[in-house]
């Protein structure tokens, strides 16, 4: 398609001017773009950086001056974080986040890839219809399920612990996961799988030894996407995690906001505790994360 891996699809004139004045002219033409992108960068970085800086400032400073003036004083402290972790229960909430997010990621991964495999490599009647049903189920908003599921959980006590939220997150993640993984599975080399079938491999054996190892990128992308989705969730936690000692960070921060609406030192530290893990994932696994998000949207 393009001449070289570097060319971004022909938007840039690869030839480029050969004279000095030509090059200067080209650079000047691009100045508005650089300015525009500079403004974009500021708008998209300033708010987050502002909160980060604030989380390390002493309370008195925050009330006196804006965070952009920290450059003058360079006074930092970690007391906000320690206060929020100990006194405000954020440490427990952080642990709760892990407890909620990990099974809510692994379960749909496992169950979803099993189902996706069936939809891609096993021929059975009504397969396409069922798959279309799965796609349709993707669009069901969680609100529709709250009341009946709460009543179901009431009978088995699943709101007292984490079972309720694990199962709910898993169920709601399945349609998208199945859709995603199935679309990937069907691109696997048919010959490989058929060879294994002829050799007498069981379906599960093929799944375990061929399909899954070859699909690690897709599975990783979905896994990361799902993990962050659950980590950042508030609504499901509001409804299904009912013991305050089990509350995740999102819920704890929401309560903090309503009680200490202007204690920005605490709020900033709390918000960053919530953001740390997703940001680390974002920076280290960006490729997979982006893939996960894109997969459902663009071919």
């Amino acid at each position: 398609m393009s001449d070289s891996p570097e060319v971004p699809g022909g938007l840039v004139n690869r030839e480029g001017p050969s004279t000095l004045s030509g090059r200067i002219l080209e650079r000047l033409n691009k100045t508005p773009i650089h300015i525009g992108l500079g403004i974009v960068a500021v708008i998209w970085l300033a708010p987050t950086i502002g909160l980060l800086v604030t989380s390390f400032r002493p309370r008195s400073d925050i009330q006196a001056t804006g965070w952009w003036e920290t450059i003058n004083t360079l006074r930092f402290t970690t007391e906000n974080y320690s206060s929020v972790l100990n006194a405000q229960g954020m440490l427990q909430a952080f642990v709760n986040n892990i407890i909620i997010s990990v099974p809510s990621t692994i379960l749909p991964l496992v169950i979803g890839s099993l189902a996706a495999y069936a939809f891609s490599w096993i021929k059975f009647p009504l397969r396409d219809t069922l798959f279309l049903t799965v796609i349709a189920l993707m669009m069901i908003p969680a609100q529709v399920a709250f009341i009946p599921i709460l009543q179901l959980f009431a009978q088995v006590g699943f709101t007292r612990n984490f079972m309720g939220i694990w199962l709910t997150h898993t169920a709601f993640a399945l349609p998208f996961g199945i859709f995603l993984l199935r679309n990937f599975f069907i691109t696997l080399p048919k010959d490989l799988i058929e060879a294994a079938r002829i050799d007498g491999a069981s379906r599960f054996g093929i799944f375990r030894t061929i399909v899954v190892p070859l699909s690690v990128p897709a599975i990783a992308a979905y896994g990361i996407f799902q993990f962050l989705w659950v980590w950042n969730d508030l609504l499901m936690a509001l409804v299904f995690v009912q013991e305050p000692r089990n509350w995740p960070l999102t819920r704890q921060i929401s309560t903090l906001l309503s009680q200490y609406g202007t204690e920005w030192n605490l709020l900033a530290a709390g918000a960053f505790l919530l953001m740390i893990v997703p940001l680390v994932v974002f920076f280290s696994l960006q490729r997979y994360f982006v893939q996960g998000l894109l997969a459902g949207s663009v071919k």
Partner: protein, 323 residues
């Protein structure tokens, strides 16, 4: 590539002596193994998605005290929602107000501005060498929880110039301070701005990939023919990105219908009820007042809005399967 191509094992390897197994037993075994693979999924989807949907639809026709069926009301809940609940939708004055109307505001402004900004930034970024850095910067908010976004922006919107970034900027030109979240006249605009800020990166990344897939030869040919940049943008780039844009629009629409976290944490639907959205309304109607029937009706309204999206996805899948 559909699996209809896989009608039976193809003996392509030399020396494959065994004849393919009889078709009927293959089919029989397929059904059983498919069942095993699909059983956990089927159980979970049935219990958590299918059953509740049916239950909630039925409950919306009932008073639903305690979430149980106790008094059949027919369409009363819906009638009340649309005519007697000004917090949901209020047609009595122009412009209309209410949660449903707020969702429409979001739908129109959030969706269109995200796509426009995304496209513009994608095109601009493609011209510079630090493109991937810009894309990362703009994409960063996608990793951040809506709850944290709400804290970040409540801080930016703080109504005094010493704390709030926006008011500090305005203070430099001696304007304000403005209470961005306390004024019902533009609290929705303030919230939509945050939503846009959080989603532009998504659009940028998608549209950037789409732009890059435009063939270099077509662009060269157009330039050779004397087309200027704007013409190229209108005649070549736009049509080629129309499919990703429509997919984007659908995804953003889904975001708008499901919008909850941001509104809940930033304003709790306030001041008053001016920034409510329907997902929030469902939560508030059903639980504090115990009006489960009405809450169910709101949920069904959300479901109905999603139906065109469902159909779009199904149709897209069908057309993609054919290729």
């Amino acid at each position: 590539m559909t699996s209809s191509a896989m009608s039976g094992p193809v003996p392509h390897m030399p020396g494959a002596a065994a004849p393919p197994p009889a078709k009927s037993s293959t089919e029989g075994r397929s059904w059983l193994s498919a069942l095993l693979f699909l059983l956990p999924t089927g159980l979970l989807l049935g219990v958590f998605l299918v059953y509740p949907t049916i239950y909630t639809i039925l409950l919306s026709f009932d008073r639903g005290r305690r979430g149980e069926f106790n008094k059949f009301l027919g369409l009363d809940n819906y009638v009340t929602l649309f005519t007697k609940d000004p917090n949901f939708i209020d047609f009595s004055q122009f412009p209309p107000s209410g949660a449903l109307f707020n969702n429409i505001l979001w739908l129109v402004f959030y969706t269109s501005i995200v796509i426009i900004f995304g496209l513009v930034i994608a095109v601009m970024a493609s011209r510079v060498r630090y493109e991937s850095i810009i894309k990362s910067v703009v994409f960063l908010p996608m990793a951040i929880a809506a709850t944290a976004l709400a804290v970040i922006w409540r801080f930016v919107y703080a109504p005094d110039a010493k704390t709030g970034l926006l008011n500090a900027v305005l203070d430099v030109v001696h304007v304000g301070p403005i209470s961005w979240l306390g004024n019902p006249g533009f609290v929705n605009a303030s919230l939509i701005a945050v939503g846009i800020w959080g989603s532009v990166g998504f659009a940028t990344v998608i549209l950037s990939a789409a732009i890059k897939s435009i063939s270099a030869e077509i662009m060269e040919a157009a330039r050779v023919d004397g087309a200027n940049e704007i013409q190229i943008f209108r005649r070549i780039i736009l049509p080629m990105v129309s499919l990703p844009i429509s997919v984007l629009a659908v995804t953003l629409t889904v975001n708008v219908v499901k919008l909850f976290d941001l509104v809940y944490v930033m304003t709790l639907g306030g001041p008053g009820t001016s920034s409510r959205v329907i997902a929030f309304t469902m939560y508030q109607e059903a639980f504090p007042g115990g009006l489960f029937g009405k809450g169910a009706a709101v949920a069904v309204v959300m479901l109905i809005i999603m139906i065109p999206v469902m159909l779009f996805n199904i149709r897209r899948f069908r057309t993609e399967s054919v290729t």
